[in-house]
Symmetry: C2
Subunit: 349 residues, 2 copies
């Protein structure tokens, strides 16, 4: 196949993903037939973005069902619990990983399923449903968010929240895409997003493909453009949002939020309600993944720092709710006080 | 020679510089015997850092004197004016370039010099004096600044302000170095400083050589560490400071200042008074250099962004004076209102 229609697809018992580590210079497709491979793909960031990670975990659980030689439901459930634990270890911050795994386990324990093979079939259907729903959710988020974008706006975004971060369409970038489809003349400044450069590699590539005016900048330059009055609105994604509206997202998001507030620019996280973790009262309880130091000291194998240097490489940071103008979800736009508005949204249908 | 004693040295009619583009993996020395080469070295950032650029311009003017075949003082002065103009074009933001060139032209027009050869000799002496003074100035700044650092402090710094940014010792990094020499147990977080990575390539390398505890981080992570309460003080340099205390410095400095203020962390620029431009009432009048887009789209020749993407690459930003706790100079520490304190310092001996 030349290109996938979605970031992640299920075909005949295998999971296919666009390898996001080698874009934009190479378009390569990876395929997996076991959940261990999917866990590794999540860990090494072949696939990334909270909703896409959720979909990958769903398909990983479906693979685990097919892999298991169990003849009974209870034996199969035991194998699925093992697979769930392996997949949970893949990345700690994005809550969609845990959300999707729990959803798949709930499916597997449905009393209406009679045999192990019934469970296997249900898991494949549920993973596909989860992926299909993600696309619908993105489009609803995009519609809600696009209403906040005016003709002529210039938008700053951080990391990648496009079709590549989800099953298809995009979260924050989906909002931008929808505004563009509505005929609004918009411009985007994309933070390159060190250390993994998802902005340079993925966001710039997607926006160019969609025909949207994009300017790539070093993360350091975002404040300069804000202070110069060139940015009207900031849109980002989220890997996990606490009950009070504190948002964990790609490292550097907090910087964008603080600079936006300082310059009177509204800052909007765009996130599916599956990303909201009502069990955590605030963002300081969200575990922050520390990644390999070579993400900072090397770029594509090219060493850019002294050998032996100590490195700090947190993959995410937490933006306290006071910096957030509103949170855009598929169920509507939540405003302060977020403790109330998010709870109401999460429980609405 | 194996290593230079200083970042830039004059030996027997030639200027020698450490090539800062290839550190830390290679230590190479470049030599120049014409001012055009020096202008190119400044432009391509073989040498960078406002004080080092000033010293390079001084030696460049000395070379211009030796290069000129002029037999009379007036012919020599005409050649020097041409060289001055070429050197002025090398980089627009750092004021030390213009300051050093003006100082060399004043030397050349000293009525006491009888012949063209007298002028040539005076230029070489003045360039050397300028370089020697820079080292002394750094040590005085370091002494003033180190008094503000407490035992156990963790310092965040941006870009490179070490010995490599000056003739020897360092500005903001000189302060850190002095505190370390005083036996204070300090730690440093170094922003890698995209796009040119002076923090990763130069600051981390210098601090490791000096035996100072350094942790290299992506620029995006600075806010995370500040919010976590791990940073006590921020120290940066300056390429040009306006009369009101607005500071132009490496792109991303404004972000550090805003995040520091938001988290109650004092933010100190460290700069020689030669960097203060009293002719500019505020920082918005400082010209901001826009550099080659390949600094953003490539790293050491490795492409990291889509072909054809539009890029914004401002090399500097301006930090308004309201974010600044105090400005550390060789003549003392200036506090708000900076309009008065900087004027008093600049005119003091």
């Amino acid at each position: 196949m030349n290109e996938l229609e979605r970031t992640i697809e299920w075909r005949d018992g295998a999971v296919y993903m666009i390898d996001q580590r080698v874009l934009p210079l190479r378009y390569e497709i990876k395929s997996y037939t076991d959940y261990q491979g999917v866990a590794e793909a999540i860990h090494t960031m072949v696939i990334r973005g909270a909703p896409a990670i959720g979909a990958a975990a769903g398909f990983g659980m479906a693979l685990a069902g097919l892999q298991s030689a169990a003849k009974t439901r209870s034996d199969l459930l035991r194998d699925l619990e093992i697979a769930a634990e392996v997949l949970r270890q893949a990345r700690p911050t994005a809550v969609n990983l845990f959300w999707a795994i729990d959803r798949m386990l709930r499916t597997a324990t449905d009393e209406a399923l009679a045999s192990a093979d019934d469970v296997r079939a249900a898991l494949v259907r549920e993973a596909q449903r989860l992926a299909d729903e993600d696309v619908e959710i993105n489009k609803r988020m995009a519609e809600h968010g696009a209403a906040l974008i005016k003709d002529g706006d210039t938008i700053l975004t951080h990391c990648n929240t496009g079709a590549l971060a989800v099953v298809d369409y995009g979260t924050a970038l989906g909002v931008i895409r929808r505004a563009h489809e509505q005929g609004k003349r918009i411009k985007v400044f994309a933070d390159e997003t060190r250390p993994r450069l998802q902005g340079a590699r993925l966001t710039a590539w997607e926006l160019m493909r969609w025909g949207i005016d994009v300017t790539l900048i070093a993360d350091n330059a975002a404040g300069h453009y804000m202070r110069k009055g060139l940015i009207d609105i900031c849109l980002v994604g989220s890997d996990r949002t606490a009950a009070n509206g504190d948002v964990a997202n790609k490292i550097g998001t907090y910087k964008v939020a603080v600079l936006a507030k300082e310059n009177g620019i509204p800052f909007y996280p765009v996130l599916p309600t599956s990303t909201i973790d009502l069990s955590l009262p605030n963002g300081d309880l969200i575990p922050i993944e520390e990644r390999d130091e070579r993400e900072v000291t090397e770029i594509d194998g090219v060493r850019i720092a002294p050998l032996g240097v100590k490195v700090g490489n947190p993959a995410f940071d937490v933006t306290p709710n006071r910096y957030i103008a509103a949170i855009i979800t598929e169920k509507g736009v939540a405003r302060a006080p977020f403790g109330e508005s998010l709870k109401a949204l999460a429980s609405s249908v």
